[in-house]
């Protein structure tokens, strides 16, 4: 690594190393990362002044709207006092949580059975793949008609969209449990309960975690769509409310709320949880786990796992990328 890093850089002035601290900061990727939101705002401004549209709002209007929503100064209370931005996101979060727990329970059971028995695997495989390929829109429209407005439809939608991710990951986890450890446990006559506790569960944990993470993200997307068609409250419904009212600043403001919410969920909760859960196992991050699972037979699953791997790799760029110069 160091040898390649020291390779002479052709075409660059040798004096670039003497740059001051400011220049070095300006060239650092973290500065670029900070710069991005400002560049985004600048582009927004530019678009605002170039396109001829009466409804396209400037950034300050949207940010003002968001501020009003956060500080509960919104002109609209959506009917009642608790129906503000916090209330709506809380309702959605609750639905997401319940649906997700159902998906986890069902998915773990099915995934365990599929991992342990080839017959069960063949029985469920195609249908799990079908659910995986189903657009959330289909659930939304059908559940809206079947169950009407309320909590049940969105919860089922979350469970259904999250389920295949949990099943696939748990099944991969079972298939990847170290066989020799089981053999050893058997030859030393370790009771089954302890085998489950000390061998099966720890080796399943990273996969369960991956399942949680992606199931949650996908469930959230499914939930939002379902709330548009099959609910009269919740975050998804609120953005539809502003859309129906034809207030562009409301729609864009809520779009930004959604983005912030998703980033917050990923950044604070999942990253911290992951670090905490795998403290005892520093080398085995999600990347290696998914990588080791790549020798499955079906192309669909391979694709799915590559997706996870590439995403995990992408997220790891921050951490280990610094000592590898590229370009």
């Amino acid at each position: 690594m160091t040898a390649t890093a020291a390779a002479p850089k052709v075409g660059k002035p040798t004096g670039s190393k003497k740059d001051g601290k400011v220049m070095r900061f300006l060239r650092s990727p973290s500065f670029a990362r900070i710069l991005f939101p400002f560049a985004f705002l600048a582009v927004w401004w530019a678009v605002y002044y170039t396109i001829d549209s009466r409804i396209f709002p400037p950034p300050q209007q949207v940010l003002g709207f968001m501020w009003d929503e956060i500080t509960l100064n919104s002109l609209l209370r959506y009917g009642s006092v608790r129906n503000n931005v916090y209330g709506m996101f809380a309702i959605s979060l609750m639905r997401l949580g319940i649906g997700f727990v159902i998906a986890m329970l069902l998915g773990t059971i099915i995934g365990l059975a599929m991992g342990l028995s080839k017959a069960v695997d063949a029985f469920f495989h195609d249908w799990i793949m079908a659910i995986l390929a189903m657009p959330a829109l289909v659930w939304a429209l059908f559940l809206g008609l079947a169950l009407g407005f309320g909590h049940v439809g969105p919860i089922i939608a979350v469970a259904l969209t999250g389920l295949p991710f949990v099943v696939i990951n748990v099944r991969e986890g079972v298939r990847n449990t170290p066989k020799d450890l089981f053999d050893m446990a058997r030859s030393f006559q370790v009771p089954r309960k302890r085998v489950i506790q000390h061998v099966l569960l720890p080796s399943l944990a990273p996969f369960m975690f991956a399942a949680m993470r992606y199931g949650f993200a996908i469930g959230w997307k499914g939930l939002v769509i379902t709330e548009v068609f099959a609910s009269d409250e919740g975050a998804g419904w609120t953005i539809k409310f502003w859309y129906d009212a034809h207030r562009a600043h409301g729609v864009i403001g809520y779009a930004l709320f959604f983005i912030l919410f998703a980033l917050l969920l990923e950044r604070t909760i999942f990253e911290r949880l992951e670090r905490r859960t795998f403290k005892w196992r520093p080398k085995l991050s999600g990347i290696d786990v998914v990588e080791s699972a790549l020798d499955t037979d079906s192309q669909d699953e391979k694709d799915f796992l590559i997706l996870e791997r590439s995403r995990a790799k992408f997220e790891a760029l921050d951490g280990d990328g610094s000592e590898k110069p590229r370009g």
Partner: protein, 279 residues
């Protein structure tokens, strides 16, 4: 992982162990097929039973009804015009998303740009497609920019991620050599980077496609007067659930066809010079 005897070399009688293994494998295959069929029979049978008993027949038509309606729509000619409309949308939106996403992915070779675009890629991956669909519509109305905006923003992230993953695995020695011999940056990209990235680009197309497909239908739900999403909306509004499920079914059939037949055909052709990546 498992030790299997692949093929017994010709001209040698298989040993008892090999015979046993072969028999075992055959039995496995037969039981797999059996259980697979059992799964189909169970799910379809339960569905047929549920329609009319658990849920109203008009709400959940059974598989036989859906197949019948599928035939009607197929012979009516509405199927192909709808698919044509949807495919045009997807083609336009996804091509643009792919170009933008691949360009950003290539830019991640430079660490500064990687930092710059990192958050945008994360946002594209995490934000629900609905958000972009509604934003696009509220800004541009029924004009094409609206749905193009939505498709591009939901799919470019996954393309970038895959290309960036390929960039991480670039053959460093080749690039260093090219630099040492003063190969021009553009030639370097064309001759080293892009061929190396080809399999990643294909993965990107596949994911982007399945994602873009869904968001395309979603945008059609709001703004189209033609296409699968539009037909789905009309079917639910008229409470024609048999038609609704028929469109869902045809959506599946078509997506499967595109992914398994068309894309794989191109993939095989594209990588003929490099058989190890298609394996």
């Amino acid at each position: 992982m498992t030790t299997t005897v692949d093929q017994v070399p010709a001209g040698r009688t298989p040993t008892a162990e090999e015979q046993r293994l072969q028999k075992q494998r055959r039995r496995d295959r037969v039981s797999r097929i059996f259980w697979r069929i059992a799964g189909y029979v169970f799910v379809l049978g339960f569905w047929e039973y549920a329609s009319g008993t658990i849920l109203d027949e008009r709400l959940l038509p059974g598989p036989s009804d859906i197949v019948r309606t599928f035939g009607e729509i197929l012979t009516g000619g509405r199927l192909f015009s709808s698919f044509g409309a949807t495919l045009t949308r997807l083609g336009v939106g996804f091509t643009l998303a792919f170009v933008i996403g691949a360009a950003i992915g290539l830019l991640t070779q430079i660490r500064w740009w990687e930092g710059f675009f990192k958050d945008s890629i994360l946002i594209s991956l995490t934000a629900p497609g609905l958000v972009w669909a509604l934003t696009g519509i509220v800004i541009w109305g029924f004009e094409a920019q609206g749905w193009i905006f939505a498709i591009v923003l939901t799919t470019f992230g996954i393309v970038s991620v895959n290309v960036a993953a390929g960039v991480k695995a670039l053959p460093k020695d080749l690039l260093d050599m090219a630099k040492a011999f003063k190969v021009k940056p553009f030639v370097r990209q064309r001759e080293i980077v892009v061929p190396h990235l080809a399999p990643y680009l294909f993965t990107a197309i596949r994911f982007g496609f399945s994602l873009g497909w869904k968001v395309t239908v979603l945008t059609e739900l709001f703004t189209a007067t033609k296409g699968i999403g539009f037909e789905m909306r009309i079917a639910t509004q008229l409470f024609r659930m048999d038609e609704f499920f028929t469109w869902v079914l045809s959506f599946f059939v078509f997506a499967l066809f595109l992914e398994k037949v068309v894309l794989q055909y191109f993939e095989r052709r594209f990588f003929r010079w490099r058989p190890e990546v298609t394996a």
